[in-house]
C-alpha cells in the first residue's frame, strides 16, 4: 500500500535524520569559527593559551571521536550531565516537561474551543461585520510578536488591573507531584487554593501562546467550511430545501472538522515552538526556558540533550502529518 510504503520509507530515515540533527548541533557547538573554546579564552588569547584550554576541556580529541563518544553514550540512554544544574539532563528534561505540556495543552484547548466556532461563524455569515472583524483580527494575530503580546497582556491584566499574577507557574511550593501537571495534581489532592492559583498563573501565558494558533485555526476553519459549503452535494441539499442549520451540522461541520483535526496535530508542533518565547516572557519553568538558559550559559550538553528530544518529537510529528495528509487528500503530492 502506498501509505505503508511512505511510512516505512520515512521511518527508515528517522535515525539518520536524528543523527544529522545531532551532527548539526554538534558542529555548531564545536566547529564553527567562533569556537566556544576560543570564546571562553577571549579575543586576545594566544593560540597556545587556547590550546591549553582546549586540552583541559577534552576538546582536543579528534571531533569524530568526541561525536562518536557522545552518540555512544546517548545510545545507552546517557544524555550527559548539565554543567549548571549538575543533574543528569534526562532528569532535568523530565522534570520540566510537564510545565511546557500543561501550557501547550491549555493553549490548544483555548484555540480549539474559541477558534473553530469562530471560524464556522465567520464562514456562515460571510462578509458580515463579524466576518470582516475576524479576518482583520486573524491577520493581526499572525503579525503580533508573541513576546510583545505577552508583555502587553501583563501590562493590562497583571499590572494595571491586578486580575492575574505577573508571571511564574505558581506562587510558592507546588502541590504534591503525581503527574507534574499542577492543575491535575491540585485536583487529585483536593488542594483547591493551589488549583485556583495555578489556573490564574496559566491564564496569560496560555492566552499569549494560543493567539497565533487561534488565528490560524479561524482562518483555516473558515476556508474549510467555505469549501464544503460550495461543494455540489451541499448545494443539492439546499436545493432540496433542507433547513440551513441541519446542513451546517450534518455535513459542513463534520467535513470541516475532519480536516481541522489533522491541523490540530500540527498545531501542537507550532505551539511547542512558540512556547520557547512565551516561557521566556512569563518565566515559565518549562523546556523552552531550559533550552534558552542552557544556550545562554553555554551548557552544551544540555543543549544537545534538548535538541535530541525536540528533534525526535518533531521528526515524528512531521511524519504523522505527512501520513495524514496523504490519507486525507490524495491529490497532495508528497514524496
Amino acid at each position: 500500500m502506498r501509505l505503508l510504503a511512505l511510512a516505512l520509507h520515512r521511518l527508515a530515515w528517522f535515525v539518520p535524520t536524528l543523527l544529522g540533527l545531532l551532527l548539526v548541533t554538534f558542529v555548531i557547538s564545536r566547529v564553527i569559527p567562533a569556537d566556544p573554546v576560543a570564546l571562553v579564552a577571549g579575543e586576545t588569547a594566544t593560540p597556545a593559551q587556547v590550546e591549553a584550554l582546549r586540552r583541559q576541556l577534552g576538546f582536543d580529541r579528534p571531533l569524530p571521536v568526541q561525536f562518536a563518544d557522545y552518540v555512544a553514550r546517548l545510545a545507552r540512554g546517557d544524555m550527559g550531565t548539565s554543567i549548571f544544574t549538575r543533574r543528569p539532563i534526562a532528569e532535568d528534561l523530565a522534570h520540566r516537561l510537564p510545565a511546557t505540556i500543561e501550557l501547550t495543552l491549555a493553549a490548544m484547548v483555548v484555540s480549539v474551543l474559541v477558534g473553530i466556532p469562530l471560524g464556522v461563524l465567520s464562514a456562515l455569515w460571510r462578509n458580515s461585520l463579524l466576518d470582516h472583524a475576524l479576518r482583520v483580527a486573524t491577520v493581526s494575530g499572525l503579525a503580533i510578536a508573541s513576546f510583545w503580546l505577552g508583555i502587553m497582556l501583563q501590562l493590562l491584566f497583571a499590572m494595571r488591573l491586578g486580575w492575574t499574577p505577573l508571571n511564574g507557574r505558581l506562587q510558592g511550593f507546588p502541590p504534591r507531584s503525581i503527574t507534574g501537571f499542577y492543575l491535575l495534581d491540585a485536583v487529585l489532592t483536593g488542594d483547591w487554593p493551589t488549583f485556583g492559583g495555578a489556573l490564574l498563573h496559566l491564564a496569560l501565558p496560555a492566552a499569549t501562546l494560543a493567539f497565533p494558533a487561534l488565528a490560524t485555526l479561524v482562518r483555516f476553519t473558515r476556508a474549510g467550511v467555505l469549501d464544503v459549503m460550495q461543494s455540489n452535494f451541499v448545494l443539492y441539499e439546499r436545493a432540496m430545501g433542507l433547513p440551513r442549520f441541519v446542513i451546517v451540522w450534518k455535513y459542513i461541520l463534520r467535513s470541516a472538522l475532519t480536516s481541522t483535526v489533522t491541523q490540530v496535530g500540527l498545531l501542537f508542533g507550532i505551539l511547542l515552538a512558540g512556547a520557547v518565547v512565551t516561557e521566556a516572557v512569563f518565566d515559565w519553568p518549562g523546556i523552552g526556558t531550559y533550552a534558552v538558559n542552557s544556550i545562554l550559559r553555554s551548557d552544551y550538553n544540555a543543549v544537545m540533550g534538548f535538541t535530541v528530544w525536540a528533534g525526535a518529537i518533531f521528526i515524528v510529528v512531521n511524519l504523522l502529518v505527512d501520513v495524514t495528509h496523504t490519507l486525507v487528500d490524495p491529490r497532495e503530492r508528497v514524496s
Binding site: 570564546l39 503579525a143 503580533i144 510578536a145 500540527l266 515552538a273 533550552a291 503530492r333
Partner: protein, 295 residues
C-alpha cells in the same frame, strides 16, 4: 507561458489584480512606509543623534511635543530610535530571506528534479533543520557566534532556507508530471534547459509568496532574538531589544514598550497582507488548500 512577452503580460495582469485587493494595497502601503522610514531616518527623526547619544536627565519622559513617543531609560528619543531601528529590521529581513532563497531554491530544484537517494538525502537534510523549533536553532547559532547583526542574519538564514527548498521541491515534482514537460524531456532537452525555461517560471509564484510571508516571519524571529538579548548589542536601536529594555519600567513608561511593538506589528502585517494578496492573485489554487504548515 514561457515567452518573455507572455511573462511581462502576466506581471501586468498580476499588478492589475493586486491593485483591486484592498488589503494587499494596505500591505504594500505599510511596506513602503517602512522603507521610507528606514531610508529617510536621518531626515524624518527629531533627534537623529539619539541613536548613540544619552541624556540621562531626560529619561522616561511621556510623549510630548518635544518627544513624540517619549524618551527611553537613557533619555534618548524613542521615535528617532524607532526610525533607525527600521533600517536594522529591513536589513535583517531582506538579507536573511534573500540568502534563504538563494540556498533553498536550488536545493529544492535538484531534489525535485532527480529521484533516488540524492533527492531523499537533500530533503532529509532540510528535515533536520526543520526538526528543531526555528527559534531555538537560531538562538543556538546566534549565541555561539556571539550577539551581533551579521550573526543574527546568518542564524535566520540557516533556519529558513528549508521552507524555500520544500516549496521548490513540491512544485518541481508536480510540474514534472505535466505532459508538456515530459514530452519536452522526451525530445531530449537538457535538465538545465528544462529547469530554466519550464520549471522556474512556474515555481516563481509560490516562491514569491513564500518570500513575502517569510519576511514577516523572519522579522518576528529577529525581534525575538533581540528580545532575548541575542541580537545586536546596545546601544543598537533594534526593536526587540528595546522592548526587553522597557520591561522594568512598566507600567509607568508604557510608551516605551508599546511603540516598538506596534512598529513590529505594522511591518509584519504589511508583509503578510501583501503575501496574502500575492497568493490570491498568483495562485488561487493555493488559497484553499493553504495549511497551517506553510507558516
Amino acid at each position: 507561458m514561457s515567452s518573455s512577452k507572455g511573462a511581462s503580460t502576466a506581471v501586468w495582469f498580476v499588478l492589475r489584480r493586486l491593485t483591486r485587493d484592498r488589503s494587499a494595497l494596505l500591505g504594500f502601503a505599510l511596506i513602503v512606509a517602512l522603507l521610507l522610514a528606514a531610508l529617510l531616518a536621518p531626515v524624518l527623526s527629531t533627534h537623529p543623534d539619539d541613536v548613540f547619544e544619552l541624556h540621562p536627565s531626560e529619561r522616561l519622559r511621556a510623549p510630548s511635543r518635544a518627544h513624540w513617543l517619549g524618551t527611553d531609560r537613557m533619555g534618548a528619543d524613542v521615535y528617532s530610535r524607532l526610525l533607525f531601528g527600521a533600517r536594522i529590521t529591513i536589513l535583517i529581513g531582506v538579507i536573511a530571506v534573500g540568502a534563504s532563497l538563494i540556498v533553498g531554491v536550488p536545493v529544492g530544484l535538484v531534489a525535485g528534479y532527480y529521484h533516488g537517494w540524492v533527492s531523499d538525502l537533500l530533503m532529509r537534510v532540510s528535515d533536520v533543520f526543520l526538526a528543531v523549533p526555528q527559534v531555538v536553532l537560531a538562538i543556538a547559532i546566534a549565541q555561539t557566534l556571539g550577539p551581533s547583526l551579521p550573526n543574527v542574519i546568518l542564524a535566520l538564514s540557516a533556519t529558513y532556507w528549508p521552507w524555500f527548498a520544500r516549496v521548490a521541491y513540491a512544485e518541481t515534482r508536480s510540474i514534472q508530471k505535466e505532459v508538456f514537460v515530459e514530452s519536452t524531456a522526451a525530445l531530449g532537452a537538457s535538465p538545465w534547459r528544462l529547469t530554466a525555461l519550464h520549471v522556474l517560471p512556474n515555481i516563481a509564484s509560490p516562491i514569491i509568496v513564500r518570500a513575502s510571508i517569510g519576511m514577516g516571519f523572519t522579522i518576528l524571529t529577529a525581534a525575538a532574538l533581540g528580545f532575548l538579548g541575542l541580537g545586536p548589542p546596545p546601544p543598537t536601536p533594534e526593536w526587540g531589544r528595546t522592548i526587553a529594555e522597557s520591561r522594568e519600567f512598566l507600567p509607568d513608561a508604557w510608551w516605551y514598550a508599546t511603540a516598538p511593538g506596534l512598529a513590529i506589528f505594522l511591518t509584519v502585517m504589511g508583509f503578510n497582507l501583501l503575501g496574502d494578496g500575492l497568493r490570491d492573485v498568483l495562485d488561487p489554487r493555493l488559497r484553499r488548500t493553504h495549511t497551517a504548515r506553510d507558516e
